[in-house]
Structures are given as C-alpha cells and as structure tokens.
C-alpha cells in the first residue's frame, strides 16, 4: 500500500472522467498495488494460520481474531486485509514521524540536549525508557506531539464526506474553505 499514490479520484470523484495517463496511469498502478497487497497479506495470513496449526494461538492480534472467527465469519480475503492494512497503516506513518524527528534534531540540537537531560534524570544507563516512564518525561511527551505537529505524516488527513447537511453558523464564506 502506498498512500502517497492514492488515486486522485478518491478525493475528487469527477476526475474519473479524465484519462488515467494524465494522473500517472493510476488505474494500472492501483491494479498492480492491489495484486501486491493480495500476495503479501495473503502470504502472511497463511503463515499465521499454519503456525496456529502447529503450535496454537500465540495471542497476537490475528490470533485473537482467528480464535473467534467461527463467530466473526470473516473470509480469507477479509482476514488478510484486516491484518495487512493495520500493519501497513501503522508502519510507514510512525516511521515518517520518527524520521521527521531525527531530521529536526540535526538542526535543533538544544532540544535533544534538554530531552536527554530529562531522560537521564529518570532512567539510568542500565535500562531503556518504557511506557510507565511517560508521566515522568513530559518534555519527551511534548517532543512526540511536536514531531506530529511540525511535519505531519498526512498533512491533509483522509478526506471526509458530510453524511448530512451541516450548518456552521460561526463560519462565514471565507478563505478557510476551497469550495
């Protein structure tokens, strides 16, 4: 899955009318991506299923889903995409934020020094920070929020659609909206 290559028709449906060659052959590319996703996610799902046959449930997310699939009745394709999309949705997004943080640290070394002073006052050299340190590391907590603010991985998020007509009394026609 390459969210960066989301076909433009997902955002502006009328672009369906424009030949695909004007948008990087998105129909062909989307079909290629679909085939890649089916192969990769399918293979990983089978891997989990075979592991379960050999050594039972290991308590992973997919194990928990499969443990109750008699009730859920998800087919093989649904299982593959439930696991696969979660895996992909949670990998390149977080990595883009961490890379952005490293990028920022090449410029603002004083922020890194301050964060290191904070972590050093709470965590020694004999262990790395863990989740229960969160409350004692407010500057690092703020650093994570700042990384997400400064260079958001999805600066326009996913487009939404109004399910109902909405009246926003506090907004007048302004440059905030592109009609």
């Amino acid at each position: 899955m390459e969210p960066g290559n989301t076909p433009p028709v997902d955002i502006y449906p009328f672009l369906h009318l424009v030949p695909q060659r004007f948008f990087g052959n998105w129909v062909s590319r989307a079909k290629d991506v679909s085939s890649e996703m089916n192969k990769l996610y399918g293979r990983m799902t089978v891997h989990v299923q075979e592991r379960r046959r050999k050594s039972g449930s290991k308590g992973s997310f997919m194990d928990i889903v499969l443990d109750q699939n008699e009730k859920l009745q998800l087919n093989q394709h649904q299982l593959s995409f439930l696991g696969g999309v979660l895996m992909e949705g949670g990998s390149d997004t977080s990595s883009a934020i961490i890379i952005g943080f490293i990028h920022a640290m090449t410029k603002w070394g004083d922020v890194l020094k301050k964060a290191q002073a904070e972590v050093d006052s709470v965590v020694g050299e004999d262990r790395t920070p863990i989740w229960s340190d969160y409350k004692n590391l407010p500057y690092i907590a703020a650093t994570v929020k700042e990384a997400m603010r400064w260079r958001p991985a999805t600066p326009t998020a996913f487009p939404h659609q109004a399910a109902e007509g909405i009246l926003l009394p506090s907004f007048t026609a302004s440059s905030r909206f592109i009609p």
Binding site: P3, R51, I102, G109, A115, A142
Partner: protein, 154 residues
C-alpha cells in the same frame, strides 16, 4: 455557512499546525509549543472544545485513526529510546563542515498524501558503551521472550 450533504471535506491539518495564532514560530521545532499538555492524543481528540486539542496528526471525527492509542505509545517509546541512546548531529561535507539541513517542506520532503523527509545527511552516535550493552541485552531478551514466538519464513 451551509455544507451540503455529500460534500468532500479536506482537513487542513498542515494549516492548523502552522497557524501563527496558535503556535508561535510554527516553523521552529520546539516541544514547548505543547508545554504542560501531556494528556494523550486520544483523550484530547475527544475534548468538547477543539481549542484544547493538541494536533490533527491522527485526523478528526468518527474516522480518526483507529491506531491512535497504539501509535502514541509506539512513538513515545521509539523517540524516548532514540533520545536515551543516541546523539543526533548534522551531516558533514568532504571538508568536515556542517551541512545545513534542508527542512523546507517543499524541497526536503516528498510530495503526496503520506509525506516523509527525503534522504538527508546526519550522524547518529551512541552516547556511551554502557548504553550499547543495555541495548544488546534488551534486544536479546526481546528475541527470546517475544520475537522467537512469532518468527519463521513468511
């Protein structure tokens, strides 16, 4: 203003994140932009007053990122461990001079829906040999207790 049913709505997260009225010097990476705001994103996203939200990195509304709880913990652990373990320094050119990082979102970052920094020069140095030993020790423990249960040829 009336938004008719079926209207596509794009959240201008970038615009809100770089709004000078909300964040002083928005182009500067400064954690003090969030000074005193340590509540988790999932909690703040549910706040009734949008002004008390931290950021829109996870989107908004019913279709907000379903991985928000996992991601926030994941990012905290990843970033806190990097800070604990490494010094991060700008890259050097052949003469040993510091290369000024290209932080411009137009030239230093890729285009598209999912945005990431282009490759950039940097130097990452371990802070001490003791930290190296701790990393290796924790890695071996994770290998035995966690990864070994799930590994195999896929």
């Amino acid at each position: 203003m009336f938004i008719p049913k079926g209207t596509s709505i794009i959240i201008n997260g970038w615009g809100m994140h770089h709004d000078k009225n909300r964040f002083k010097n928005p182009e500067v990476f400064d954690p003090d932009h969030f000074k005193g705001q340590t509540a988790l994103a999932a909690e703040l996203a549910a706040a009734s007053d949008y002004n008390s939200r931290d950021h829109y990195g996870y989107g908004a509304g019913r279709r907000i990122c379903p991985g928000i709880h996992l991601a926030e913990r994941n990012l905290f652990l990843g970033i806190a461990k990097l800070i604990w373990a490494f010094d991060i320094l700008p890259g050097l050119d052949a003469q040993g001079n510091t290369i000024e990082p290209d932080l411009d979102p137009r030239t230093g970052y890729c285009e598209g829906f999912l945005v990431c920094a282009n490759d950039f020069p940097c130097r990452i140095k371990l802070r001490s040999p003791a930290r190296r030993d701790t990393i290796m020790k924790e890695y071996e423990k994770a290998q035995v207790e966690v990864f070994s249960q799930f590994e195999g040829d896929i």
